[in-house]
């Protein structure tokens, strides 16, 4: 019952499972302002979808959840459009490089390994840092001191760079180089790992650019729409790895979950939100690390030779 055939993945999946997966990822996406791809891509692979199709389809699904997420954030005036534009400019360049890099690694048969190692390193480092910081913030709040990590007037090395732009919504006057580099890294990750890159972008903007947390979440959701759209088109054109039927099912679940996620996120305090996100990120990293270290059930793998390879 409810089995649906996927024309590009050439397999049959359960409609309810895919709707549920989309909804769960959409909920987290709305709550934390992340695209949720770092959960979606591994879960798609666990359900038997091949890794390249999971990456491309995941990116396409994130377009849908981030559109509704960004609209909800825009209504709350949480988007810094000028900052978003700078991030997108860097993101598109990173996306092109990432798609080409993935193509080369797939042909060498090392895409899976490099993807997993990058995931473990990134998620482990960022999750650990975020968890440590948010625990400190929660303790400070319990001790009765102000919980905010943002201290206006405090400067770091970022403020010494040239090409300064004024970002009125974020109340910042900083160099455009750090946002460009952050956008570039995020674009690379989106194309390469099928993630929105929110888990890199959100902490980088909070800690490096010292933007207010609520505006960080709104702006990153806004940027994610454009970068994931570019990545979707690039993967469809170069790798033929996009399954629109699968994306549609995930999107239908995702937009519903996303709305509830935004509301749940409003009820939680900033540092609690960050602690939860940190725990989630660490759990995914641990799972991926186990898969790399434990002896695989199957030592052999077979993959079709890519056309034109």
């Amino acid at each position: 019952m409810f089995q649906v055939y996927l024309p590009i993945a050439e397999m049959s999946v359960n409609l309810l499972v895919m709707l549920g997966l989309g909804a769960a990822v959409g909920f987290l996406s709305g709550m934390f302002g992340v695209g949720g791809g770092f959960l979606l891509t591994p879960f798609l692979i666990f359900s038997g979808v091949s890794a390249p199709i999971a990456v491309a389809t995941g990116a396409n699904q994130v377009v849908a959840t981030s559109v509704s997420g960004a609209l909800a954030q825009w209504r709350r005036n949480n988007i810094d459009f000028r900052m978003g534009t700078v991030l997108i400019a860097g993101g598109v360049v990173g996306a092109v490089i990432g798609v080409l890099l993935l193509k080369v690694l797939r042909e060498a048969g090392q895409a899976g390994l490099v993807i997993s190692l990058t995931y473990v390193a990134l998620l482990g480092a960022i999750g650990g840092l975020m968890l440590a910081e948010s625990i400190r913030a929660i303790r400070r709040a319990r001790a009765g001191r102000p919980a905010s990590g943002r201290r206006p007037g405090q400067h770091n090395w970022v403020h010494g760079l040239p090409l300064k732009i004024r970002f009125p919504r974020s109340r910042l006057y900083i160099s455009s180089i750090p946002p460009l580099v952050i956008g570039w890294v995020v674009g690379l990750l989106t194309a390469f790992l099928g993630v929105s890159g929110g888990f890199v972008m959100v902490p980088a903007m909070i800690y490096l650019l010292r933007m207010p947390t609520n505006i960080v979440i709104g702006t990153s959701t806004f940027q994610i729409i454009f970068v994931t759209a570019v990545v979707t088109i690039l993967h469809a054109s170069l790798n033929h790895s996009l399954d629109v039927v699968l994306a549609l099912m995930l999107a239908a679940g995702g937009v519903m979950g996303g709305q509830f996620g935004v509301r749940a996120g409003q009820k939680l305090r900033g540092e609690q939100l960050r602690a939860l996100l940190a725990l989630l990120v660490l759990a995914v990293a641990a799972r991926l690390l186990f898969d790399l270290v434990l002896k695989p059930e199957d030592l052999y793998t077979i993959t079709p030779v890519l056309k034109g390879a």
């Binding site: 649906v4 055939y5 024309p7 050439e10 049959s12 509704s68 048969g109 759209a229 088109i233 270290v293």
Partner: protein
């Protein structure tokens, strides 16, 4: 004149006699067919069972011989190139090692028979017909190298687990003396293309007759349109996918907004 006519009659008779002697001895023939000639993959496709049936035609001989008849049915999809890799431990993690490329691995291969293949005929006959999972060459000449052999058996093993390679020793059943039937489950992940169904009739270890039919597996309707668009106009396909995603996002926002 009379002698000439007689000569012609004798010559004709001789010619007929020789023609008859040069032809094959009366033999049993196998005829077969598939329950469907075309499989349409639609959105509800979750695999399909096909039926292959046939009969042994004894009409060429006055009285059928008694003897052990065996039927072997082979369903085969067009070949595709695949790479097999083995993971090895490096610095504590499992890493893909160098790959072995097989240029021509059937996308689907099922062999069904009345008895175990080795009991039906000799290994040489099976090899020359390309019947049996062990007798597929995958477009790469096999060596006896243990490493090479382990890769081959891993390919077969993985394909068997995906239900794309099947071997069923007792899959073909006789109904009465001449009718036989068998069924094959095509899983949802079958590749598209023109499949062949080869039916071999064996008696006393000899392949005495064979019959071939084809089966087309195609995507149709929406599934075909999506497939063609994705491969022929991939940029437009990507754009459409993004537009759909944006619309889905908008619908979600409008439907759930409570402000």
């Amino acid at each position: 004149m009379r002698t000439l006519l007689t000569l012609v009659a004798i010559l004709l008779g001789l010619a007929m006699a020789t023609a008859h002697a040069a032809g094959p001895p009366p033999s049993d023939e196998v005829v077969s067919d598939i329950s469907t000639r075309e499989i349409a993959i639609k959105s509800n496709f979750a695999g399909i069972e096909i039926l292959i049936f046939g009969s042994i035609d004894f009409s060429a001989r006055p009285a059928p011989e008694t003897g052990a008849y065996d039927v072997v049915v082979v369903i085969r999809a067009p070949g595709q190139a695949i790479v097999a890799r083995r993971k090895q431990r490096m610095a504590g993690i499992w890493v893909n090692g160098p790959g072995v490329t097989y240029p021509d691995v059937p996308g689907f291969y099922a062999v069904l028979s009345t008895r175990p293949l080795r009991a039906i005929t000799s290994e040489e006959t099976l090899k020359s017909l390309g019947v049996g999972l062990g007798n597929l060459d995958f477009g790469r000449s096999s060596t006896n190298d243990a490493n090479e052999q382990s890769f081959r058996s891993a390919v077969i093993d993985l394909k068997e687990r995906q239900m794309l390679f099947q071997e069923d020793d007792g899959g073909v059943a006789f109904i009465g003396r001449s009718l036989f039937r068998t069924s094959v489950d095509l899983p949802a992940n079958v590749p598209i293309g023109r499949y062949t169904a080869d039916v071999y009739l064996f008696r006393d270890g000899q392949a005495i007759s064979e019959n071939h039919s084809t089966l087309k597996v195609n995507k149709v309707g929406f599934e075909q349109a999506v497939y063609l668009l994705a491969f022929r106009h991939s940029f437009i396909y990507g754009l459409i996918a993004v537009v759909i995603a944006v619309i889905a996002g908008l619908i979600g926002w409008v439907a759930f907004r409570r402000e």
